[in-house]
């Protein structure tokens, strides 16, 4: 059933507050050129996001007050784009929609966002590279929060696309925040360009969907409208050339769904577009935590869930999503095993976990995907921020081979860090355990082709996740300290701004799993309806098949997941504590394999050779040197000028003889010619 929702004027203020502060910061540094004192600017930003969080909570309460099957709040602000008349009229409204799905998202975005804003006060304090740096940083951060909130609250695809592009822009600005180092600027550009490819797919998807709906006579653009008239386009097909696979006709919904998924691939760093995310770690660590772990990169998952009615009608594409997610999860996990940069490990871990979410979404487990999205936001933000604390303590050293033994020195950080590692590795009763289990169950019960293989890949990835996270833990916190002497004596816990948000996030990393406690555990500890998150989300999503699975099977699956995580942990312990020589020995004896992993399967090199270089060559030789320089400049602009000079300067100028009589002669000849023509 399609519900057009209850009016609420509150929603607009949730994204508006961060925007106002971002505008204030932007005007004071960009236009007035009188930066606000850093502390004041930071407090403004934090206050805006915290207030947004409070408003989100109020809106959430309002939403809960509605009956369960009509929980939709709508805030129509104004008509943004209006065109056409009569039945072909379209209007893209600036209107916000709060339903269970976007409610979960805004709570995560504003809550994790506030924590990271507060953390940033402490983290950016010692950054003296640029006197306006702090305010510029908070300006971008607030602009990001605004865009992200527009993305998740937007009631139509066009508004969602606005937020989608906004977060991409802020991501670019923040990756290249320390732009004086050209590598950072390069990474920012790479993220932006790779995202362009995905955005292109998203845009094509919007236009195709809109075109198809117009053909049925219902050019809807809001989510409710699309869902209402969606049945009309399910049967449509598009003709493709004979040589294309699965031709000669493709189902239109499949094409649309694939286009949207391409967008999701770009934003959420899935194969083949994941290459930008590891390089995005060039940005400041709070940015990595907020944008490249907790919120923006999950936008793709959110989008797939938001369009769940579309994907439910396109089972083939759902299978593609599930397989893409699974392969991404596996590939990224294998790369994470060999990386030595602490942030790179976490980045590949993020790619891997996002793959997990897509695997769930592709298998129809949308609630499991959103559940994992939420828990992942907590523990991955925590891990990044804690890694940032470690990096601060190590004086901006990110190489784990130069850490070690921090257990005795970072007495606070070690606790929160361990909570994060424990949660992501999937040990009960931390949050990661429950959400990962939900995904594995969703994969198990789905009817995607080869879902048992997917389950196997999920299990293998779970084991590898435990391995590389404990490898990171052991290399960083255990063993001998490998830092240079000058740094070693100065390692200490960071200040309160940095530490306190970590405690909060650690708390939620531990308990967030309770929000979506699977029923099987609820039965054991005696809660009637335990999976409150899934039940809450269900009306907003196209519900898949209910779990037709024995409780004993589910418990057995949970046990084996814990078992494989334990095995990964034990292996990490063996490799990095008990027998530290083993990794080196393995790297030597499997050097080809090790090198491949260390160099990330040479994917960057492959893209460079196959796409970037030919593109640059064509752009340089053909587009620049030939078309631009030769054709447009040479023939077009300069050629015209040369031609006119040849005619006028070397020929016609002699007509200007200075002799009055000759002018008179021209005039007479001209007049006679005109009269002769008229009298012909």
């Amino acid at each position: 059933m399609v519900d057009f929702g209850t009016e609420s004027d509150l929603l607009r203020w949730i994204p508006l507050l961060p925007l106002l502060v971002a505008i204030h910061h932007g005007v004071s540094i960009g236009v007035l050129r009188r930066p606000t004192p850093p502390r004041v600017a930071a407090v403004f930003s934090c206050a805006a996001v915290l207030l947004s969080f409070v408003l989100s909570c109020i809106a959430f309460r309002d939403l809960l007050a509605l009956p369960a099957d009509s929980r939709v709040l709508i805030d129509d602000v104004y008509t943004w784009i209006g065109a056409g008349i009569g039945s072909s009229a379209i209007s893209a409204e600036v209107s916000f929609r709060l339903d269970p799905l976007s409610a979960v998202m805004i709570l995560i975005v504003t809550f994790v966002g506030s924590m990271i804003h507060i953390y940033s006060i402490g983290y950016m304090e010692d950054d003296h590279r640029d006197d306006r740096g702090t305010q510029r940083f908070f300006c971008y951060l607030n602009l990001f929060t605004f865009s992200m909130l527009v993305l998740v609250l937007g009631d139509n695809l066009v508004l969602m696309f606005l937020g989608w592009e906004g977060v991409g822009l802020c991501s670019y600005l923040l990756i290249g925040f320390w732009y004086s180092d050209s590598w950072n600027a390069y990474c920012g550009s790479k993220a932006f360009i790779v995202n362009r490819i995905g955005d292109f797919g998203f845009l094509i998807g919007i236009l195709l969907l809109f075109g198809a709906l117009s053909e049925t006579g219902h050019p809807a653009i809001s989510f409710a409208g699309i869902e209402e008239h969606f049945d009309g386009i399910v049967g449509m097909t598009v003709a493709v050339p004979e040589w294309m696979p699965f031709g000669p006709e493709w189902k239109l919904v499949n094409v649309i769904a694939l286009c949207f998924f391409l967008g999701a691939c770009g934003k959420s760093a899935q194969i083949p577009l994941y290459v930008w995310l590891p390089d995005a770690m060039a940005g400041p660590t709070p940015v990595s935590a907020l944008i490249h772990a907790a919120t923006m990169v999950t936008a793709g998952v959110y989008m797939v869930c938001r369009l769940s009615f579309l994907y439910a009608a396109a089972p083939e594409v759902s299978a593609v999503i599930a397989w893409t997610g699974a392969i991404t999860a596996l590939v990224a996990a294998t790369i994470a095993i060999t990386q030595n940069d602490i942030k790179k490990v976490l980045a590949y871990s993020t790619v891997s976990q996002l793959g997990y979410m897509f695997m769930a979404a592709g298998c129809g487990g949308y609630t499991a995907a959103i559940f994992h999205l939420g828990t992942h936001a907590f523990f991955k933000a925590l891990l990044f921020l804690a890694a940032g604390a470690v990096i601060l303590a190590m004086h901006h050293e990110q190489d784990m081979q130069k850490m070690g033994g921090l257990w005795h020195r970072l007495r606070m950080t070690r606790v929160v860090f361990f909570a994060g590692v424990y949660a992501i590795a999937g040990f009960p009763p931390f949050s990661g355990f429950f959400s990962k289990d939900e995904i594995l169950v969703a994969v198990w019960v789905s009817d995607v082709p080869g879902h048992m293989w997917l389950y196997g890949i999920g299990m293998a990835t779970a084991g590898m996740t435990a391995f590389y996270m404990f490898r990171l833990w052991f290399l960083t916190f255990c063993g001998e300290c490998r830092a240079p002497n000058g740094v070693r004596n100065q390692i200490e816990d960071p200040n309160g701004f940095v530490l306190n948000p970590l405690w909060v996030l650690a708390f939620f990393s531990v308990v967030a799993g309770m929000a979506g406690l699977p029923q099987v555990w609820g039965d054991i500890i005696g809660i009637e309806e335990s999976n409150s998150l899934a039940n809450f989300l269900k009306p907003a999503l196209v519900a898949g098949e209910p779990h037709l699975i024995e409780h004993s099977t589910e418990l057995w699956m949970a046990a084996s997941a814990v078992g494989i995580a334990l095995a990964g942990t034990a292996l990490a312990w063996l490799f990095y504590i008990r027998k530290p020589g083993v990794p080196g020995w393995l790297a030597e004896h499997l050097s080809g394999f090790y090198r491949t992993l260390l160099n990330k399967y040479y994917v960057d090199e492959f893209y460079d050779a196959v796409i970037v270089r030919p593109l640059v060559a064509v752009s340089d030789r053909v587009l620049y040197r030939f078309i631009d320089v030769r054709l447009i400049d040479g023939i077009g602009a300069n050629g015209t000028a040369r031609g006119i000079r040849a005619i006028a300067a070397d020929g016609l100028k002699y007509a200007q003889s200075g002799l009055t009589q000759s002018y008179v002669l021209f005039m007479i000849v001209g007049a006679v010619a005109i009269v002769g023509y008229l009298l012909r």
């Binding site: 100028k653 003889s657 200075g658 002799l659 009589q661 008179v664």
Partner: protein
């Protein structure tokens, strides 16, 4: 009544004399006078045609005469400007020969 052909022939003769005068003479005063001749040739044609026009219409019209007045006004203005240029030219060059005025050329 003088036939129209005669009027047009006179007008054409006067106009041709004017054109030849402008084209061949080097004296600016004579050139101006030739221009006046051409204008008056045109005036003559206007007046002549006006009479034919009145016969065709059946009612007396004065369109041609009005145009003649217009041309005379323009001619007066033109002579005023032309003689002004001529005067300043003579002051500067002590001559009214247009062949000596050829600074504006390639």
């Amino acid at each position: 009544m003088v036939p129209l052909n005669h009027v047009i022939a006179l007008s054409a003769i006067l106009f041709t004399i004017g054109v030849i005068g402008v084209a061949t003479r080097r004296n600016l005063i004579v050139m101006l006078m030739s221009i006046e001749l051409m204008l008056n040739a045109a005036n003559l044609a206007f007046v002549g045609f006006n009479r034919i026009w009145s016969q065709v219409e059946g009612t007396p019209t004065i369109d041609g005469q009005i145009f003649v007045l217009m041309v005379i006004t323009v001619a007066a203005a033109e002579v005023a400007v032309g003689l002004g240029i001529l005067l300043s030219m003579f002051r500067n060059r002590d001559s009214v020969n247009v062949e000596e005025v050829n600074l504006l050329k390639w």
